[in-house]
Structure formats: structure tokens, C-alpha cells
Assembly symmetry: C2
Homo-oligomer: 225 residues x 2
DNA sequence: TCATCATTCAATCAATATATTGAATGATTG
DNA sequence: CAATCATTCAATATATTGATTGAATGATGA
């Protein structure tokens, strides 16, 4: 067998597992993965969102595809990348969990940056789903428009963070608002909560983001394919 | 804040998560982690088991401790390393799951090496626990003696793989045997099953290993601290 | 208090990873 | 069928990682 490692199947397996972990072992790649957790995307868009050159983004994507984290397909003249499997989301979540518990540096960032911007408890998925069904809450999606378009929470209104200050009148002052974005540590929702609290809105943050909501099997809406 | 990344909290978090993933991104380190999932161990023992020089093993251990995967404590004149948290086991399991589903190389090794040695379905944890309670099965632990000593399945008998051929008379021929070792892809149990089947024993493999059994909250036994 | 010895550190070299540039590819679409 | 253009490849420079050697550390235990 061609892939048979000279050191035997044990080493070959560890090497295989390590290849997957290596693919996760770079900040830019994790950022790309978070973006792809929202929906599939072209190389160009990913490069722009992650602040990379196109060639560099392409390299990272190829590496992650080889590691089995991503799949790609052609759509017209662009290639769309996407997560290969929901299990990749679980892997990212497990990684976050270990890092947030055991890595001093991560705990520091979370404690120093995030908590001061969100003293209140975030809202859990289940709780939000219940209150949403009862019509008791307004859901605010602060991701960019295109990410919202490919999938969002039901009845959510989309105001990207950058436009928030100029579109305050679209938000209710008599109901609680729940903001969300890409994931548990996506800064967009934190910033939105901080900004809107200062303006007197009643707003909390969803404990995680759209991909986790969707993966949990909760209902989602979609504007366009 | 000293760890404040110039590119903001988003990059700092991704970098932190990446540090954990990097620590998992090397075959020798994954092997060390599998060993530490059995029980805490000194640098010397880990180096020997993983086939590394002591200085090299020490370097890998330091890196993983920094990434929050391990903790160390002094015991007499040696330093014992151990997993920092059960969440590390979950992370390793998530890594295996993605690799075995999506990485062609891993699927090939599993298909080519493991399946031909274990055509039968492995036994699940719950099923084994039930049959063990009813006294219907003999459990065989093929790990080295010291790993067995620090923790094993109840009523398991310990015959390290290397001694198996010379100690066949200790095994029953009238009852089913279930063999296990360090984890889902630990080769020891696969080899034991193959060897004993050829000798006419009725034997199957536990679907995973001792750390998973223990983490699932099932009963364990211990001979010495 | 001091000799011991497991572990860590420091220095080095080879190997690998990352980012940049510019050219090549190749499927699409008019 | 040819022009277009998103993506990939190739080549390069720099940075990081991994393994080895030998010396330094420092807590133990006599």
C-alpha cells in the first residue's frame, strides 16, 4: 500500500491525525473556517474577509482540503469552498473549549476584552428558540449582508455592524433584542451589544452563532441560494 | 494587556486556538497524548514508549503544557505529566472523527490494516459493561503491565501483547473474550484479536480503549497508585 | 550539606511552513 | 472558438519547527 508508513500503521495513523490538527494550527486558517461555517464561499471572498492575498488564501484552502476539512465545487467561473462535514464544527468547538479552559492567553483575552463588553449572561440557544416562537424577542443579525442572505435565524433582521449607528430606528425600544453573529467569540455581536446598550436598548447576546444554531437542528431561514 | 495582539482581539483569539491545534499537530505528540490518556507518566517513560530522546520528549511536553494540554507535578525526583483536563480527550476524539471520515490517507490505513484483522464488529462500551456485570465475558487488557496497574477495566486480566503467545493457558476457551488497549486505533488489541482468533479463541475487540471507558464514567479498578 | 540524577536549557542544523510575486492553467461564457 | 478571469502553480525569501548534542539546573534523599 502506497501510504504505508515504514514505521507501521501506528505512526501512519498518528501522522494522519496530525495532518488534520496541523491544518487547524494557524490563525488565518481558523478564521477562514469560521467564515466557511456560515456558508460556502469563493476564494476571492474568503481572501478579502480574512485579509489575505488571493494566492495565499488559495494555498491555505488547498492545505485544508487535503486535510479533509474542506470540499470545493465549481459554480460558474468561481470555485466554492465549504466545510466537508458537520464534524468539523464539532472539532472547532472542542478546540475552543480546551483553549478557553486551559490556555492562559485565551482566558486573558476573553476576560479582558469580552467580559467587560458583556456583563450580562448571554442567551442560550434553547431559550432563544422558545422566546422566539412566542414572539417575545427581536433577533438581530450583525453579520455582513451576504452571510445573512445564505442563512439566518428565523425572523432575524440584518444590520451589519458597520451600519448599526445609522440604522437605529429599525430597532425596537420596547422589546428585548438578542444579537448574534458567526460564533461564540465573534466580535461583531459583542460590539453590537456594547454599542446598543449605551444607546439605551435592552439587548443581550446569543451564546454562540449561526453555525451552532443550525447544527443544533433549530429552524433557519434563507433569502437566496 | 501584554498579550494584546496588535491586530485586535479577534486575531489574538484565533492565534490562541491555533496554538492548541499546533500542539496536536505532530505525530509524536499525539502518541504521547495517547500514553498520557492512560495515566500520568514521567518524561523518561514517555520518551522510551514513544521512541524519542529524553531531551526531545521534554521539548514536546513543554510545548503541550504551554498550550494547556498538559499539567506537570513533581513526585519524588521525577516530574509526572498528565492531561490537563478531560476536555483534551474530547478534542482528540473529535480529531480522530474528522480524520477517519474525511482524510483519505487515514481511511486507507484503517481499511487496509485494521479491518482485515478484525472483520467482526467491535463490542460497544455499554454492551460490554452489561455482559461484564452478568459475568458472561472475560476481559483481556493487552497494554504493558504498568499501564494496567494504574487503572483498568474491572475483572480484566492483563497479558501484554508480547507475552500473549506464551500465556495462552490463562485464557478461557469456553467463554467469549473481549480485548482492549489504549484507544480506538491502538494496534495492540487488533493484533491480539488476530493472534487469538488464529488459535481458535472466541474473541472480539472493544470499540475503544481504557481512557474512553473511564471518561464515560464506567467502573474501573486500580492495583496501585 | 552534598552527591545524585531526572529534567530542562542552549546551541546548532536540517526540514518545513508562510507569504509574496508573477506566470500558467483551464473552464466559462459570449 | 477565443477572450476572459478566477484560481492555482512555481519560485523565492523569511520564519518557524524538530531533533541532536552536551551542559546546566535544582530538588531529592542519603
Amino acid at each position: 500500500m502506497s501510504s504505508q508508513n515504514p514505521k507501521g500503521p501506528k505512526s501512519a495513523l498518528f501522522a494522519g491525525f496530525a495532518e488534520v490538527a496541523k491544518a487547524l494550527g494557524q490563525g488565518h486558517r481558523l478564521e477562514i473556517l469560521e467564515l466557511l461555517a456560515q456558508s460556502e464561499r469563493s476564494v476571492e471572498v474568503l481572501a478579502e474577509r480574512a485579509g489575505l492575498s488571493i494566492a495565499n488564501a488559495s494555498q491555505h484552502l488547498r492545505l485544508m482540503r487535503r486535510a479533509g476539512l474542506l470540499v470545493s465545487r465549481r459554480d460558474g467561473k468561481r470555485i466554492l469552498y465549504g466545510l466537508s462535514d458537520p464534524a468539523v464544527l464539532d472539532l472547532m468547538a472542542a478546540l475552543r473549549r480546551v483553549a478557553e479552559r486551559n490556555l492562559a492567553e485565551v482566558r486573558e483575552v476573553i476576560g479582558g476584552y469580552f467580559h467587560e463588553r458583556d456583563a450580562l449572561e448571554p442567551v442560550g440557544r434553547r431559550e432563544l428558540a422558545r422566546r422566539l416562537k412566542d414572539g417575545l424577542v427581536t433577533v438581530l443579525d450583525v453579520r455582513p449582508e451576504d452571510e445573512f442572505g445564505t442563512g439566518h435565524l428565523p425572523q432575524a433582521i440584518n444590520i451589519p455592524l458597520r451600519e448599526l449607528t445609522s440604522r437605529l430606528r429599525e430597532l425596537p425600544r420596547d422589546r428585548e433584542i438578542v444579537a448574534y453573529c458567526r460564533g461564540p467569540y465573534c466580535v461583531l455581536a459583542f460590539e453590537a451589544v456594547a454599542l446598543l446598550r449605551r444607546r439605551g436598548f435592552r439587548i443581550r447576546r446569543l451564546e454562540d452563532g449561526y453555525p451552532e444554531w443550525k447544527a443544533a437542528g433549530l429552524p433557519v431561514a434563507q433569502d437566496r441560494r
